[in-house]
Amino acid sequence: MRSGVAESETLNRRQLLTALLGWQVANSVGCGTSRPSAAGELTHTRFDVGHLLRDGVDASLRPQTYEGVGVTIVGGGIAGLAAAWRLKRAGFDDFVLAELESSPGGTARGGKRNGFRFPWGAHYIPVPMAENKALIDLLTEMRVIESLSEDGSPVVSEQYLCREPEERICSQGRWYEGLYPQHGASEEDLRQLAAFRAEMNRWADMRDPSGRRMFAIPMAHGSDDELVRKLDQMSMEAWLNERGWDSPRLRWLVDYSCRDDYGLPPDRVSAWAGVFYFAARIAPGSEGSQEVITWPEGNGRIVDYLNDAVSGQVRTGLGVFGVAGGDQTNPTTVLAVDTATQKPVGFQSEQVLFAAPQMMAKYVIDGFSDSGRDASAFRYGSWLVANVHLKDRPVDAGFPMAWDNVIRESRSLGYVTATHQSGIDHGPTVLTWYYPFADVEATITRKQMLQLKWADWADVVLTDLRLAHPEIDDLVSRIDVMCWGHAMIQPLPGFVWGDARQQAAKPMGSIHFAGTDLSGVALLEEAFFHGVRAAEEILSVRGIVDQPLNDLRNG
C-alpha cells in the first residue's frame, strides 16, 4: 500500500446510507448503528495484488527457473478462457492460463452454497443473432442451442430461456409487471415511450453502406459509420434532451438501463453505448428485444464450461506482475507470484495473450508506455454484489416474484432470484442484489469503500431491500457480499470510438490483447469475441490453419 496518504475519515451509518441509497432512504432509518443479525462474509477482488503491482514490485522477486510454454494467457476471465478454449479447439495444447483469483471467470463467476447456485456478476446473455457464429458454436457445444433455424438464428432449449415472469418493478410498496413503470403513466409518458421504442427499432433495422447493422453484438460486427460514431460524442442524457424526451418514466428507464449495463448515470454514458444497449438486442424486422439465456448461477455456467474444457492448463492464484516482450530469437518472459506461497514463478513463451484489464498493462508489460500506447482513457467502475439467502419468500402486494426484480425508488438495481430458472417458486431462495457505484467519485471514495466492513455493507443491502420488503429482516439467513473493485469498463462519451480503444486491441510484438474493455462495453459476448479473436491471431502467427469462428462479414 502507498503510504503518506492521510487516513480518510470513515463514514458513519447515515453518511454511508446517504451516499449509496440517497438521503430519502437514509432519512427513513434511524441513526446509530444497526448490526444485521444474519451471517455472511465480505469478499474483495484481489486488490492487494493489484495495488502491489501498481506500487512497484520488489526487483528481487525473480524465479530461478522458467517454464517453457508456447503461449501464456494472462487473466482467466471470459476473454482468457475463451482464448484457451479456442486454442484447444484448434488442437493446440501448448499453453497455460495464469489467473490471479482462486477461481477463474472474473465478473462472470457464479457461486454455490447450501444447495443453491447463484451469480456473482454477469448473469445472462441475449440469444445471439445469426452472425455471432463463435458464440453460437460455444452454446451449441454446451447444448444450450439445439439447432439453427433456416435463417441461421439459433433455437435455444426451453429450459435456458428466461422463464416468465421475467421482470417486475416495485413502486411505492406494490409490484407491477415489466420494467417500465407503467402504473400511473400519463398519455405523454406513453407517447414518449412509444417514440423511444420506435427510434430504437429504427436503429435496429438500419444498415450502413457496406450492409452492416448499425449496432450488433459483438460491436465489431456492427457499423463504424460516421452516423454511429457521432453518437459517441455526446452523453445519453444529451441525446434524450435533443429529442425533447423528458418523461420522468422514460428517463427512469434509461437511467436504470445505463446503470444496469454500464454502471453509470446517463449523463456520463456515451449515447452510442446508450443506444447500443437497446438497438443491438433487437433483431432486424422484429419489434422486441431478443429473449435472454440464463442459468441459476448466471454466466457462471459458461465459465464452468470453458474452464472444464481447459482446466488442465489453468493456474489459479497466480498474480502476473511482469511481461517482457521477446523478439524473433528470444522468448517473451512472464513473471508471476504464487499468492499462496508468495514464491515467484516464470514462463517463457513465443506468444503472450494479455487478457487482463488494460489499466494493468502499464504496470505489467515492459515498455508499454514507451510504445506509444496510452491506457489512461480506460476507466473502470466498481460494483457491489450481495447474495442474500432467504429462509422463505416475502409476501408481496401485486405481481409475483420474477427473475429480475427492480425497485423504482432505489439506487440499487434490485435483485435476480437464483431459484427462478430452476422453477422453484416456494420456500428458501437466494436473491442476488446488484449495486453499481454509478457516481463513486461523487459519493464515496475507493479508500472509504475498502475500509467498510461486512456489517456496513449488509446494512446497506437490507436497508435497500426493506424499501420493497419491509419484513425482509425476518427472512434473511445469510448475506454474502462481493466488492468488485474495477469491475466494468466505462463507456464514457468519446471512449468507444476514440483512438485509445482502437489502438489497444492491436498486438504489441509477440503480445496479443483480449478483454471486454477493448470493446468499450462490459459484455460477456465482447470478452468472448476478443478472446477468440486474439487466439485466432496467435494461431495464424503460429501457422496453424483452422476455420475462423469470428466471421466479421455481416450475415
Binding site: 426451453e158 422463464r163 416456494h426
Partner: protein, 518 residues
Amino acid sequence: MASSSRLAFALLNRAPLFLLYLNVLAVATCGLIYELIAGTLASYLLGDSVTQFSLVIGVYLSALGVGAWFSQYLHKGLAKTFIEVELALALVGGLSAPLLFVSFAFVQWFQLVLFGTVFVIGTLVGLELPLLMRILKEHLDFSDLVSRVLTFDYIGALLASLLFPVLLVPYLGLMRTSLVFGVLNALVGLWGTYLLRPLLTSRGLTGLRGRAFLVVGLLVVGIIKADTLTTWTEEIILGKAVVHAKQTRFQRILVTNNRRGFQLYLNGHLQFNSVDEYRYHEALVHPVLLAAQQPKRVLVLGGGDGLAVREILKHDSVETVTLVDIDPGMTELATQFPLLRDLNQQALTDDKVTVVNTDAFVWVGQEHEPFDAVVIDFPDPGSYSVGKLYTTFFYRRLRQIITSDAVLSIQCTSPLVAAQSYWCILRTMEEAGFYVRPYCTSVPTFGVWGFALASQQPEIVVPQELGKLDQDLSFLNASMMANLFELPRDIQPIETEINQLNNQVLVRYYDEEWRGRE
C-alpha cells in the same frame, strides 16, 4: 412537594400523585397507538404509505383540536365525563382495527369509515387532556400541572411510537394491538372511578363501573376471538360456514359446508363440491386407466385431496400409486380432516399409495421407475408458478419417466369458458411429443369441464368394457365412455400459441378468459 399537591393528595382518595401521571401516560400511549394502527392499516390495505400516514396524521391532529375546543362546553361532572370519554375511546379505539378490516371487505367507501374512525378517536383524545387538567387544576399548582401533564403526555407518545414497531406489530399484530390497548384504555377508565372517587357523585357510580366492566369484557372477548374474525369475514363473502381454514406456505386452504355438501377452496378458487365431485374424478381417472390397459404403476400429479386416488384404487391391476402434491398442508387435510378423509375413503393412507410433498416441476426432473399411467390434476393455470406445470418443458420431462405406451389424463379447465386455455394445453402437449384426445363432461358445480388423454402412441383406445368396475361407479357407464370423446359443436379445436416457460401464454389466456367470471 408543593402544598397544593399535598392538598390534591389528600383529596384524591389518598392516591399517590404518580398514579395520576401514570393515568396521563396510559391515555397518551393509547391515543397514539390508535393513530398508528389506523395509519398502518390504511397503508396495508390501500398502499401508498406516505399518503395514508399523512392523511391519518392530519385528520387525527385536527380532530385533537376539535376535541380540545369542544371541551370548553363541558362544565358539569367533569370527572364523570372524563371517565365516559375514556370508555368511549376504549370502545372505538379498541375495536378500530377489527372494524376497519371488516369494513374494508364490505364497505365501498372505506376511506369514509377510516377517516371517520380516526376523527372520532382524535376528538375523544382531544377531550381527554383538557378535561383531566381542569379536574386537577383545583388541586394542583397550574404551572406544575401543565408541565407534568404535558411531560407525561409526551413520554406516552414516545413509549407508543417505540412499542408499536418493535413489539406490538411483530408479536401481537394490528388486530390484537388495537384490542389490547382498548382494554388498557377501559381499565384506565375503570380505575378512574376509584382514583377520582372524591370527585364523583354516588349516583350513577355503579352504572359507570358496570359500563367499564362491560367494555373491558367485550374487548377481552375480541382478543380471544381475533383469529376467527378473519374466517368470519370469509364466511360472509362465501355465504357458507367455514369449517376449516389454514394458510400454508403455498396457499390458503378453506373448507366450507352447507346443507348439500362441503367445498374445498384453494386461494379462493373452488376445487370441488362433495355433491358432484365424483363426476369430475370418475371422468378424470377411469378413461386413462382403462386405456393404459391394466396399469401397475400410476402417478398422480397434484390431486392432494385424495379423490383421484380413491378412483384409481378401484382398479385391481394397480400396484403402486405415487401422488406428488407440493403442499403437505393439503395432503394432511386429506388424511386427517374427517369430512375429506371419509369422502376419499382414506385413499392416501392405503398401503399402495406413496405421498410426496415436492414441487412436481422439480420432481419430474429426477429419476423414477417408469409409470404406466399418469393422472394430472393440477389447479387451473391461474399463476406463473402453476403455469410452469403446463409447459412443453414440463411435458418433455414427464416423457422421461413414463413407459413408451403409458397413457396420461389431464384436467384442463373449461373448454366452453376458456377455449384458448383448453386448446393451448392440448397444443402444448402435442408440441412436446404427445398424441392427444380431447374430451369433456358436465360437472354441475363447474359447468362443462375439459379433459384430455395423451400418449406417445398415436392410437389411444379406451375400452368400453367396464368389467368389475361397473358396480363401483356412480357416474360413468359403458355407453357414456364412448360419448365422452364426442365433442359438441361449440367445443371445437382452435389455433393457439404453445405454452413455454419463456412465454407462459397459458397464464395470460387463462387470466383473460376467466377474469370476472368466477
